[in-house]
Amino acid sequence: MARVLLFGALADAAGWRDRDIEGDTIEALRLSLSGDERLAERLARPGLMTVLNQVVVRGDHPVGKDDEVAFAPPVSGG
């Protein structure tokens, strides 16, 4: 279980931005979110940004209920 945040096109597709999701690793959370077909395709795209407790991470990491995991598409500021 962790707090999951979505940004940009992911939040738009899911219809929510912030939710508690079951899963004890980042990959487990991503798999769980991919059950939503509106999200599955976007979560599989290259360039997905994963942020664990406000630190950008690569690969899998264990997460607990006090952890916050954000998923976001490639950024497009400026």
Binding site: A72, P73, V75, G77, G78
Partner: protein, 154 residues
């Protein structure tokens, strides 16, 4: 300094304040990004920027720090709008002050490339053809890659 701004960004007022009372600066370069009425041939009526207040500023602050470390500059400002932005309105304002103009130009150019490809902001264009989430163009990555030569030792 960096700022994530929910209201309008005023480049004139920001530049005026940024230049004020400087006696050790010979050069100020500014960049203003404006919302265009068309993007890649498609009409745009509104731009919406998603951001993560707190985290977005934290990353912007890192980008500011790497700009200061890399170039001989006196001051750096980056203000980024988020939320809904109308056509013709400013999206981002960057200013760099330096003793000499070369450092000011290069630092502003560098910081914009970093903001484009690294700042946690997500841009959506809405128009008569629907909504379109924007990702960095290949040219943005090419621009950012210009700076990948090794940084000078500190």
């Amino acid at each position: 300094m960096v700022r994530l701004e929910a209201g309008p960004v005023d480049p004139g007022a920001l530049l005026e304040a940024f230049c004020r009372d400087r006696t050790d600066v010979g050069a100020v370069v500014s960049f203003t990004g404006l919302c265009r009425a068309a993007s890649e041939g498609l009409p745009v009526t509104t731009l919406t920027l998603d951001a993560w207040p707190g985290f977005t500023e934290a990353v912007m602050t890192e980008l500011e720090a790497s700009t200061r470390a890399r170039f001989d500059v006196v001051d750096v400002l980056a203000v980024h709008r988020w939320g809904e932005v109308g056509v013709g309105q400013p999206i981002v304002f960057v200013a760099v002050a330096a003793a000499h103009r070369r450092a000011a130009f290069e630092a502003a150019d560098f910081l914009m490339d970093q903001l484009k490809t690294r700042a946690p902001l997500w841009k959506r264009e809405d128009g008569p053809n629907g909504r379109r989430w924007i990702e960095p163009r290949p040219s943005d990555h090419a621009d950012a890659a210009r700076w990948t030569e090794p940084e000078p030792a500190e």
